[in-house]
Amino acid sequence: MTTVAASSLRQGTLRRALTPARLRVLFALAGGLFVLNLASATFGQAPLAVLAQAFHGTWGTPYGVGQVLFKATPLVFTGLSFHVALRVGLFNIGSEGQLALASLGAAVFASKLGPGIPAVVAVPLVLACAMALGGSVAYVTGALRARLGVHEIISGIMLNRIIDVAAPWLLVAVLGAVSLRTEPIAASARLPRLDTLAPSLSGSAASFAAPLALLVVFATFAWLDRSRAGREMAWIGKSESVCAAQGIDVPARRTQAMVLSGALAALAMSGTVLGYKGAHELGLGAGAGFSGIAVAMVGRTSPVALVLAALLFGTLAQAGLAINAAVPREAMGVVEAVVILLVAAVASAGEPPASASAAPRAPRAPQAPQGEPPNRAEETP
């Protein structure tokens, strides 16, 4: 009797632990693992040996753990950025450009700071400067969408390209840089490495940007859940027309969410510029915006899930470097793409189609009741 009770208890906890969201991620990870093993075999390597190498270079050593933290830090910010915009039903594909311009501008600002300014003033100033720049770029997208009905995906892509083309020109023609990097930032604006706290992380690029990212994630989720603005943003994401009928200023809230999203994406520069390079180089942090979309898709249910998702994609990036001698690190890019597609495919299997890519103001197609998967009813015993 007791063994039966114990096993049913264990089954119960197992079932509770494997929520649909977690099963989804596990499924996607299995797919990613399969692709990695396929790549290993194609390059004539034993899959298990490559996996061991990947583990050793990431979670196997304190240095590897530090590097994973370093790679995951910008992704926490960009993932959170994407989540905030999606909350009001907007697709912030422009975080790539928002981050690039903020990183460049704030690095220039930090290089002009005098030596007398203490770190407690310098770091917040530089971060505020980055947030202002990222928020301004996002404001263009947000206002164009909210006031003029310009789709945020088109304007976001165009702004990404504009910043991509204009950044070298800003550096060379406007700022007079000789190489494609900014002047080094003031020493007081640099974020110390984490190995000052934990000496075993020595050599890794993880900095105090990592705890900053944790703080920002939990604070933002709490603000979204508890504040009036945050609640209204969630309602707008559910039903724009109901909110408008209730007297909520939908365009204003949407623009605010977009600006916040841009400002959060801009904070990703804390890990790359303030904590690591000490200057902005062209292309530094590139790709973090797009990876942030993947992070948000995997872990937008809670702050803990978001951090775990960022760690997952940070691990993939670092593992790519660890296996590079045996299997080219580009294999991890393929794995990441497959994980994104699998997560998106499994996530949409039980939900109505996302409205984010629908044309603005276009009426939604009526939802047919048979859109529900037929096996829904069978899941509950």
Partner: protein, 302 residues
């Protein structure tokens, strides 16, 4: 001034504009069927790589062309399946396919040629006179089989979209998938067909790019897919206008090369490169671009 409208300039414009125009008309085909396609960049890359790899392995340029187009069709059709069958958001699918194309082609470069940057060179197609005069350049550009195929596909697109049963059904699916479905048109099948056509035309651009450079380089699409996307929106989702806009973009780029002003950070070069993007935002902000947008963009039948 005369050098800006010379025959040599015309030849140069045609050569530069071909990949843009192919990608843009491919984009029009996808979006007229109601599928947002930001993966044009990835289709360009993949088809460029496949054409070079196959031409390199077989020694036959024609086989390279066929292989490039085939893989372009495959990637574009995969996008249709992911969006229509697996119900992935088209933007997410596009981003993932771009990442996949970039990483997979680099992986292929390292696996096949042990290089992180480029493939060995291939011959490409060479027809017509070998001189360097403007007339010779123009004849050479016009005799290039890839350019000819692209011209034929672009010229046929407006007719097919507006005069044939297939084209009209593709547009019906793009304008109102629910009504098309109710009228007995298979939304999934027509979207798959339109995306296959889109992939084939866009792939011609990728093959042109690779054969023109006589090799594959990592990331050689260089944002052309996004410029094409700008042309799609600016044209009001009309294939002939999109191709004409790409000719204008190509002329701007040729101008910039002619002025030997292509160095990084030059003010004039930067400004000319920004024209397509700024024009797109301006036209949309003025409310001029929304009239042509397919009403069913991003919507499903059920």
């Amino acid at each position: 001034m005369s050098s800006l409208v010379s025959i040599a300039m015309l030849a140069e414009t045609l050569r530069i504009a071909a990949p843009y125009a192919c990608a843009a008309v491919g984009g029009v085909w996808a979006e007229r069927a109601g599928v947002v396609h930001i993966g044009l960049e990835g289709v360009l890359l993949v088809s460029a790589f496949a054409s070079v790899a196959l031409a390199q392995a077989s020694g036959s340029m024609a086989l390279g062309l066929v292989g490039g187009v085939a893989l372009g069709v495959a990637v574009s059709a995969l996008h249709a399946v992911l969006v229509d069958k697996a119900r992935i958001d088209a933007v997410v699918s596009g981003i993932a396919l771009n990442l996949l194309a970039f990483s997979a082609t680099r992986l292929g470069l390292r696996g096949l040629y042990d290089s992180a940057s480029n493939s060995p060179s291939i011959a490409g197609f060479r027809f017509g006179p070998t001189g360097t005069s403007g007339g010779d350049m123009l004849v050479r550009a016009l005799l290039d089989p890839v350019t000819l195929l692209a011209l034929a596909a672009i010229a046929a697109s407006p007719f097919v979209l507006s005069e044939t049963r297939f084209g009209l059904r593709v547009r019906a699916v793009g304008e109102n998938p629910t009504a098309a479905f109710a009228a007995g048109v298979s939304v999934g099948r027509y979207r798959l067909g339109a995306l296959a056509v889109s992939g084939a035309i866009c792939a011609l651009g990728g093959v042109h790019l690779a054969f023109d450079q006589h090799r594959f380089e990592s990331g050689m699409s260089g944002g052309r897919g996004f410029i094409a996307l700008a042309a799609v929106v600016l044209s009001g989702w009309r294939p002939a206008r999109a191709a004409a806009l790409c000719l204008a973009f190509g002329w701007l780029e040729a101008l910039q090369i002619r002025m030997q002003d292509a160095s990084r950070g030059s003010t004039l070069a930067t400004l000319t490169q920004l024209v397509p993007y700024l024009a797109t935002i301006a036209v949309l902000a003025l409310g001029l671009g929304r009239r042509g947008a397919p009403a069913g963009l991003g919507r499903h039948a059920d």
